[in-house]
Symmetry: C2
Subunit: 195 residues, 2 copies
């Protein structure tokens, strides 16, 4: 028996650690239980399956990313174009640094995100909505040319796929990424701007 009662949060943290250590294909529920000094049956008391456990890990991870991004984009003192630029830049650099600093862990999350596409597409939907709101603000303020904010937001996210989609993580190691991203973003902003 453990000193403190086992809870979901503790299990998720242990799972994250096990995933970091062994990688997505080697990490087992038994490993998680061992790390917690508990039998694997106890883990199944809190999570119905291995899949659900992994889903919880990725959900928490994405929630944290979302919190970080929300902070950068909600500075009301900035103009909508600046806010959008900030949001995009923050999104890119957050991913790039994670992919560069801990490629193993990043690859792990990539695998998990693929397996649990529901969770990650909810994340994308949220991101899309954030962009849409800023674009709508920008159109209202006259900074951006008129148009459908939802369609524009979708276009912006799609056009920057190369810089935020983990499928392109290998390209992020090149020193040119920075300039390439800036290049695409300014091309987009040239189109967005009111004239």
């Amino acid at each position: 028996m453990r000193a403190e009662p086992l809870d979901a949060e503790t299990i998720v943290s242990a799972t994250e650690e096990v995933l970091r250590r062994y990688g997505p294909e080697k990490a087992t529920v038994l490993d998680v239980a061992r790390m917690l000094g508990v039998s694997h049956g106890s883990v199944y008391r809190h999570f119905p399956s291995k899949v659900a456990l992994r889903e919880a890990v990725i959900r928490r991870w994405l929630d944290r990313v979302r919190e970080d991004l929300a902070a950068t984009a909600e500075d009301a003192r900035l103009t909508p174009p600046d806010r959008l630029r900030r949001l995009l830049t923050a999104m890119f650099t957050a991913k790039w640094t994670k992919a560069r600093e801990d490629p193993e862990l990043f690859a792990t999350f990539r695998v998990l995100a693929r397996e649990h596409s529901t969770v990650s597409s909810a994340h994308v939907a949220h991101l899309l909505d954030q962009i849409r709101a800023i674009v709508a603000d920008g159109i209202a303020s006259g900074d951006f040319a008129p148009g459908d904010p939802a369609a524009i937001a979708r276009g912006v996210l799609h056009a920057t796929t190369r810089f935020h989609d983990p499928a392109h993580a290998t390209a992020w190691h090149s020193p040119e990424v920075d300039a390439d991203a800036e290049n695409v973003v300014s091309l987009l902003f040239q189109g967005l701007r009111a004239r």
Copy 2:
């Protein structure tokens, strides 16, 4: 002995057929030789290694794509913006239809292209140059706003990554791809246009 002497072109064709039938991980040099009714030693007379043979397949493949694209983009009666739009659209639909009609073969191609990145990056370089030339024309004719054609070409290709990079082939099965691509392209053209 075969009726006609064995040549590289015949071997490449047979390899393509074997790849189509068995997929990239199952296809062997022995299979190619069997299909040609020849010993595998004869294949090694024309190609130094299995890798070189596969490289030849992908090179021919990409050359054919390039020929097709060149035809669409070199119509001198069209304005540069129209030519660029055509080139992009042709590039997208060529890949989409291939990925949709023969997913097995496309996946094979994808694996080979990954393994032989030199060949495919040469292809990208050529594509980039084609776009650059059209952009330069467009700037000269006053259709496009002034700027560095090479940088703009790079931006255009990067911004449309999602619609031409095989990493996103699964997304191409969605019926929205068409509208999404059109959305991004028009966003880009809005920025490119002279004002």
